[in-house]
Amino acid sequence: MTENKFVFLAADIPGVFAFDRDKNIVACSTFPRNPKSILGKLEELEEGTDLDEVREVLERVDTENIVTDIPIDLDGYNIEVKENISAKKHLIENLREISKECGFVQSDSQFNRILRDIQVIRTRDGIKSSVKKDRFVSQAVSALEDLRRISNELSERLREWYGLHYPELNVSDNEKYAELVSGLDKREDSDDFRGSMGLDLDRPDTDVVRSFANHVSSVYEEMKELKEYLEEVMDDVAPNLTHLIGSEMAAQLISLAGSLDKLARMPSSKIQLLGAEKALFRHLKGKGKPPKHGIIFNHPYIQNTPDNKRGKAARAIASKLMMAARTDNYTGKFKGKKYKDELEKDLERIRNE
């Protein structure tokens, strides 16, 4: 009576291998040493394509009984497909030695290089597939914050500069001021010009200031466009959050958390203090009072609440934000209206307590 003979088939970076019960290599067929084609072949194997390498190995084996984790089905063989076979584990654990033994590589440095090449490709693909829209949005909201800072600085400069020439120009809104200056040919053209104690200037001097003012105006223009953009995408990315506190603050929360996914994993106490990390750590070190709120401080919900109720209001808002973030991240359903009604009722009660 002949004993039933089995071989164990497994594949990885160096190629396709057949092992006996004692983990000795009985046959192998190496892949060409090209990272892209190796990844291609491994992918084909996963999909169950019968590669030439597999056929080659099987032809060299003196049995029809095959155990493997590669999902193949070939006529003339008795193939049992199952996961986590020990031959595969053995192959992975000894990848370097086996690669050298079968002639896939000649040296350690050659093995390192091919492994590096393959991991670089896999990592690039991994990054590509995991970058989501919310990351894009958090960049947009950071850009908006940058523009706000820059526009204030530039406006201040413009006022100082043009103020030397026409100090009487009294417009408190920065955006309007820049618009006015850039459109003003001479100060005498201004509607309410009644003489000026400023420096008299000629053409080239007024031109530089006007051109500068023009740039300042365009920064405000850009901000407007960004805000519109944010409103549009935020409705798509996180409709519940957006409905609850507005697109800009919703985007800021996502940006501070790192991503919508991270925000959705946060407890409400952490959401409450996003943006107040400095005050929190100051407090934890034993100095200063504990902060009540992070960036949600700037929301009218808090602003319209009297000082002594703000801590309680902040907790109520944060807990609803947490629910909204989780709804956005995990379900995609819209419950923003319900959350908002509930929150406003809560806040009303807190204010009147």
Binding site: D108, S109, N112, Q119, I127
Partner: protein, 217 residues
């Protein structure tokens, strides 16, 4: 240049490693050419391992040909010097979870054939279970549970008799405690599985950081 440790050179109080990828800088470091070799300055203010050497680390377990698993590779500043020291026959597996950092790290890996990038969470060694057994496990992750993460990785990937090298950021473990207290707590936790051979505080290069070298029994 005199060789302070195998592969690590010193000249005028500065440390250098021999550039494995001549012509390429990683983080704007100074490059010095001598006897046909290109030396990259190893800035102790940028790299905790360099700071530890500067503060008198007596034995550097990372050597020519070493296999290193590096947890928390970040932008690849320190790993690039590790890559210089181990040369082409050694390998350093660079585990990093942040995609932002990984983008910069990939650029470094592309010029160095012994740096293998691994985009994964060091908390889940199963995600990179294909990594081989290593001589040195290096960890710089600034996480409250970093010792737990270290042990988990050491069990899966560190050869017996292999070394662990860890940078500990006291503020990442508990902001409310004094660094000295935290170091005191860490030691027994490490000694359950390792034998501590060196302990170095990294000030003034890094405040509230220490560096520990230990060996797996």
């Amino acid at each position: 240049m005199n060789e302070k440790h195998p592969g690590v050179f010193e000249d005028g109080g500065r440390f250098y490693t021999v550039n494995l990828a001549p012509g390429n800088k990683v983080y704007g470091e100074d490059i010095v050419k001598e006897n046909g070799e290109e030396y990259r300055e190893w800035n102790p203010n940028r790299s905790k391992l360099s700071a530890a050497l500067k503060k008198g680390l007596s034995e550097l377990p990372i050597k020519k040909g070493s296999k290193v698993l590096y947890l928390g590779a970040a932008q690849g500043t320190t790993p690039s010097h590790v890559s210089d020291i181990i040369r082409k026959d050694g390998v350093v597996y660079c585990v990093e979870f942040s995609e932002r950092a990984m983008r910069d790290l990939l650029d470094v890996c592309e010029t160095r054939s012994n740096m293998v990038p691994v985009l994964a969470d060091a908390r889940k060694p199963n995600e990179y279970g294909w990594v081989e057994m290593v001589d040195v496990l290096y960890q710089d992750v600034a996480q409250p549970d970093q010792i737990k993460i270290l042990k988990r990785n050491a069990r899966s990937f560190l050869k017996s008799g292999g070394w662990v090298m860890i940078a500990v950021k006291a503020r990442a473990i508990d902001v409310t405690k004094e660094p000295g207290e935290i170091y005191k707590d860490i030691k027994p936790e490490l000694e359950e599985e390792f034998e501590i051979s060196e302990f170095i505080e990294l000030d003034p290069f890094e405040g509230d950081h220490c560096f520990i070298v230990a060996r797996k029994a």
